[in-house]
Subunit: 481 residues, 2 copies
């Protein structure tokens, strides 16, 4: 492609994105295509000749867009907020245009040093002490896997340089609450600990980890000759944004020599507002923590922030040093290939930088407060409305609720009813939320925090829920589908 | 940021990238900044107020660009080709603009199905049988970690669901050649095998794995009560693009029940040209293979293609199924979160699609042939010029060479001399290559394959090398620095 064509198509696609974002509210939030429908629109063999990019661009509206679930839609209440601010889109464009491979400092010093700068800004923004150093990873799952590997190697005095986990030593054990994100289980299994050495600690009525239960589990394992290795605490669980008592867990971890990893994937963003920082009190004692700016903060996926207290340990676990990767500056600089699992790295710091300059810390604070207030508004409606239940406290922007039809006492029936409500709302296209099971109870999770979500969108969602519940209860039918 | 500002800045940045790519030849290939120089240009605290994106955009020329090592420069001969075609830049823009999170089919069916389509195109393009299914990963390091984890679980009958690697069973062993990429060692250590259970198999004079040595190592380990688990073969090693005998290795793997993973990170792209496919003869017997379209093929980093013969096994190793990730379509569709380590996924298939339509398979073939011919041209110059040595065959686009000054017999002196040549060339700014050690000998690696690299750039590199060698040999000084 020549330069002029690139300019022309580039301008066209910038406008296409702008138009898309301008009219996003008119689109159904959740894609309505059926399995295989999009695949069927493509030829089954690759193009022999080139020069056909126009076809792909024209297919964006006709083929791709119907297959998009719109994560930046203001009525997206599913999973977690995943914003992609316009400033961060521009940064991703620059990232792609520079084509940087930032594995080593020398392979693009700017990629490393801008990351150092903005990750330190981020540390300050969420109130972490300067004993933490940050590095960008792709996702919280990868960050937590990294943490578990680092914990494993600290507890085993670098078993990886000897027999790995295959030396027949007493097994290492991982602890997390029964509300922990599924990726922690996956990561623990991938790291080789084994399901038998993973303890899900009971939680209290607010769905937070019980410190006494943690301490008991550790002591039981020690008595049984096992080696407690790492505890994962969560600030803001996926199900209900429950807040594990970090300071208390840190005390137990310290007493028993465990690595403390804090998963604040969603909630970390809230800490830009100092009044919320009580939620992770004790955080300074964590050995590692992850939060995802690509969730609620604004820059587009993927941008996970991983902070550690001992970067040298991280580097020791992750570094390899073959001759073809050595550079003249080794020792003076950070080679970020040694700060995570993949060798190659994009210039992701650009999008955090662009986003921060565009929105400012004050802008983020205002947005976070707005979203929490919207969640409280919805929680109040649930609490005051007969037939509706709220199943968890609402410290942040997630409301876990359900409708119990009159006379229903059977959990199976309530579950089916709420799944039907979710289906009706989601298929209706005007909002999208996630059904979830909380300790055996079927719930509906409303996660607020898209950049464009105002009070009116939450009000509209509440109307949708009321109407869907009425229709599914056999009352007046809901609006046309 | 409002829509109009986004349009205006978007157009400006598209033009900025176009200008950058237009004038890239006038820039020094390797960044010349000193450690800390870029960091020092930034404030140490984050911006409180927003609306300052203009500052970042203005800093692109003044602060960022001097800190970029230009991977798409036609005189970039370091590491490996890492192209970022203009078509793929446009696709990355669309990807960022859509803000898709493709973890599940439902969270954007297009992200999953376009990936299914283009990965099957890719499979056909490199001549893989339809017994393979492809999925996009970020890097070859991650793909290979995934392969080792899958191998570990197959050999141990899903130990992760029991005691992991901590059950005291006979240790699993990993095999690869002594020329294997460093990430394989890193991955094996991260997967918990332990350095003691990693065998680097001797290579022949062409730096390819010796099948007899592999078979012997496996037999010795079996006799010692260990469990041989996985062998990593390489088509196109990092040092010299050596070609492990895949069919022979597959025979050994089959006989002993090992998982065969093929690392063709760079060389996979060459297989678009059928005449090169002898290089990985036997590939159909691999259990998994990785190659990186983001290297030589054209779409920008990160786009690693991971192919497997048994996707169900991959999913069984990688899947978790919490209630909040279940969707109505589970069972009917691929949920790509279960096809790799991270939960979240960008819509990376877009850039493969855009690139393929723009360049076409024929265009890629022509470019690959051009690059191999350029490498042969350089190899011929080395072979015919007194004082220069070529240290490996040149099946593809990498030439491993060095200069031996008259009368030098001491390896330490030759090494210092060649490191000085590399320094002089790289700091001169007109080309960039990687010094590397091959079996104790210091070499210079010339890796050809940037999209814009024509014969004249390789000729210019050869002149640079001759001049640098002369200057470092104490002859006439090289050109002004």
């Amino acid at each position: 492609m020549d330069s002029d064509t690139f300019r022309k198509l580039g301008h066209e696609l910038v406008d296409w994105i702008a138009d898309y974002r301008d009219r996003i509210e008119s689109l159904p939030v959740m894609s309505r295509v059926r399995p295989g429908e999009i695949r069927a629109r493509f030829p089954s063999t690759p193009p022999a000749g080139g020069g056909r990019l126009r076809e792909a661009i024209d297919a964006l509206d006709a083929v791709v867009l119907p297959g998009i679930t719109h994560w930046t839609h203001p009525s997206f209440f599913a999973y977690f907020p995943s914003n992609a601010s316009r400033a961060s889109i521009l940064a991703d464009l620059v990232c792609a245009g520079l084509g940087v491979q930032g594995m080593s400092w020398q392979t693009s010093p700017a990629a490393t040093e801008v990351e150092e700068v903005v990750m330190d800004w981020l540390r300050q923004m969420v109130g972490l002490p300067d004993t933490f150093t940050g590095v960008i990873q792709d996702t919280a799952s990868t960050s937590t896997l990294t943490a578990l590997l680092c914990a494993r190697e600290r507890s085993s005095n670098f078993s990886q340089n000897r027999e790995g986990l295959q030396g027949g030593e007493p097994p290492l054990v991982v602890y997390a609450s029964d509300q922990v994100h599924s990726s922690i289980e996956k990561d623990a299994l991938l790291a080789g600990f084994g399901k038998k050495h993973l303890r899900f600690i009971a939680t209290d009525r607010a769905h937070a980890m019980r410190i006494d239960a943690l301490a008991e589990a550790i002591e039981a394992d020690r008595s049984a000759g096992l080696r407690p290795c790492v505890v994962v605490a969560t600030t803001g669980t996926t199900g209900t944004t429950a807040l594990d008592p970090v300071a208390g867990i840190a005390g137990v971890a310290r007493r028993h020599g465990l690595w403390l990893h804090l998963d604040a994937a969603l909630a970390g963003t809230a800490m830009v507002e100092p009044e919320y920082r009580w939620m992770w009190r004790g955080v300074e004692e964590a050995d590692s923590l992850v939060f995802n700016p690509h969730k609620w903060m604004g820059p587009g996926f993927d941008l996970s922030a991983y902070f550690v207290r001992d970067p040298q340990h991280l580097v020791r676990v992750m570094s390899t040093n073959p001759s073809y990767l050595r550079t003249a500056q080794d020792g003076e600089v950070r080679n970020l290939r040694d700060w995570g699992i993949p060798l190659g790295r994009r210039f992701r710091a650009l999008k955090l930088w662009f986003h921060l300059l565009d929105e400012g810390v004050d802008g983020m604070r205002a947005r976070v407060r707005r979203d929490v207030e919207n969640a409280h508004w919805l929680a109040d409606r649930v609490d005051e409305t007969p037939g509706w239940e709220r199943l968890a406290p609402v410290p942040l922007q997630t409301v876990t609720l359900r409708h119990v039809p009159q006379g229903a006492s059977d959990e199976a029936r309530v579950a089916e009813h709420n799944l039907a409500i979710a289906r009706r709302v989601n298929e209706g296209g005007r909002a999208y939320l996630t059904p979830s099971v909380l300790k055996g109870q079927q719930t509906l999770r409303v996660s607020i925090g898209a950049e464009g979500t105002e009070r009116r969108h939450v009000e509209a969602l509440w109307r949708e829920l009321l109407e869907a519940a009425r229709a599914e209860s056999g009352g007046t039918p809901g609006p046309e589908r």
